[in-house]
Amino acid sequence: MEPNLATSIGPISLDRPVMLASGILGISLDVFNRLYRSGAGAVVTKSLSTEPWEGYPNPTIFSVKGGGWINAVGLSNPGAEYFAKMIEPNKDVPIIVSLVGSIPEDFEKMIKQFENCKVTAYELNLSCPHVAKVGLEVGDDPELVKKIVRTVKNSTNVPVIAKVGLGTTHYLNTVGTAIESGIDAITAINTVRSMAIDVQTQRPILSNKFGGLSGTPIKPIALRCVYEISSKYDIPIIGCGGISDWEDAVEFFLAGASAVQLGSAIGDNWIDVFNEINTGISQYMKKKNYSKIEEMVGLAKKS
């Protein structure tokens, strides 16, 4: 019997366990359809704000020697209202709407704008490392996390995920706060604040100077975080950070993730990477005699 790639992340059910991470390719419904056809179990949108944001000037991305990327796109996005209208016709693609804001009212306002859309879940970006007053600055403030999660949970019946990262507040405490406030699942982790300097011109390369490191260099860190979260809390987890092939995905399942997200792998291997990872997971499950993803989740914690 063919293994079943369907997975549940708490109240969220997906046919396939590999999703597009937020910030990647996420501004057009046509592209979402293409990604879904290419094997993505769900697509997470770019982080949407109450108003359209242009983001930072280029260079917004830097390829790190030895692997990985540093980006400071600056959360460019067309704004929640425009975006909601764009995805309104969608019926087929599981869309997870990523939201970014400074105060609970920002999130409440945006969720209202998606009332006519089929939204699989909301993902609260509490961890973007390169835009002031949102992202990590919110995630680092436990009181604000509490208020935002409670407000969002009161605003919608759609499942809500918190995306956490490495800030000044320990991410495990942020996870704890989010759980106490009623969050349904956690995505871990976001990119890690970093930079690159060109030695010839002796300047920081990114226009914003600092950006978020993603890709293979952060995979061991992300894996550790997923393992730690799943060891400490009983909360569904989506692993994110440097997943580039099926083995990486399976590692995250074994650490305690029920699904994974990927972004940088698309820059390295393009869209085919979804089907390649799905096929690899399926073959692994066959070999190990697993019929469902959940049979693997957290197995590494046994030892």
């Binding site: 592209v31 983001g55 991305i61 980006n71 460019s76 996005n77 011109t201 698309i266 393009w270």
Partner: protein, 270 residues
């Protein structure tokens, strides 16, 4: 060691050629860029200013390549103002390239959209019969006419210029010339790069007659590697699926010739 095309390489501008009062070609040494295929592009970093997607221009010296830039906004003006001896960063080449047919070829270029056409001319066979149509607003803004003639010296060829105001060559839009040519001649391949409306009309003229046509698209581009999504046209990403698309494919695209996206990703009418 082989160069990783995603890493920025710093090059020094060795020569600056004024093509028109607003258009300049910056020449630099770089073996990889000197050999790129027509239609491919590089991300060009102007330190302290911006990073821009640029078609790679040819140079008549081996091992050298160039960028031809029109000063327009702050970023392109920044590149335009780079002087001999100053450094810029390049990564790439990115993107696909034109499929070169043999026989009767029609190349259509407007403004700096002529750049990939010049590179394409270095790939034509001596047996090809090549017509180049150059569109410009006025006489002052015509460039690469002599270069096109020089590159085609051994071919049966025509280089025809049209200016919107009639101050040089034929009067009118280059798309009117395209329409006349594709009506009169059965071309084996039509290639176009320039303002999108010009490309849209050229693709329509050729494709509606069953003629093979390809266009090299330009969009707001941030990453160049298929991550940021800024350059999507319908479900296509210009940086990864293009820049070159077939007329057949483009004729199905809902956005080509009609919309582009602003920096925030909002579709705007052309």
């Amino acid at each position: 060691m082989q160069r990783n095309h995603n890493h920025t390489t710093i090059v020094t501008v060795e020569k600056v050629i004024d093509e028109t009062p607003t258009v300049r070609t910056l020449v630099f040494s770089d073996e990889v860029m000197s050999n790129v295929l027509p239609g491919q592009f590089a991300m060009v970093w102007i330190p302290g200013i911006n990073e821009l997607p640029m078609s790679v221009m040819i140079s008549d010296e081996s091992g050298k390549a160039a960028f031809t830039v029109r000063k327009h906004g702050p970023s392109s003006t920044g590149l335009f103002n780079v002087k001999v001896g100053e450094q810029i960063g390049i990564r790439g080449p990115y993107g696909n390239s034109f499929d070169l047919k043999e026989g009767k070829l029609l190349l259509v270029g407007g403004g700096t959209g002529l750049v990939p056409m010049m590179r394409l001319l270095t790939h034509v066979k001596p047996t090809d019969d090549v017509t180049v149509l150059i569109g410009a607003k006025s006489k002052d803004e015509v460039f690469f006419e002599d270069l096109a003639n020089k590159l085609l010296a051994n071919n049966a060829h025509k280089v025809i210029v049209s200016t919107d105001d009639g101050s040089y060559g034929e009067k009118g839009f280059v798309t009117d010339l395209v329409e006349r040519h594709v009506e009169q001649t059965k071309f084996d391949g039509v290639y176009v790069c320039g303002p999108e409306i010009m490309m849209y009309k050229t693709v329509q003229s050729a494709h509606s007659r069953g003629t093979f046509v390809q266009a090299s698209l330009e969009r707001m581009m941030k990453c160049g590697v298929g991550i940021c999504g800024s350059c999507c046209v319908g479900e296509d990403l210009v940086c990864k699926d293009g820049t070159v698309f077939d007329g057949q494919h483009l004729s199905q695209n809902k956005e080509f010739g009609k919309f582009h996206r602003n920096k925030a990703g909002i579709l705007e009418n052309y």
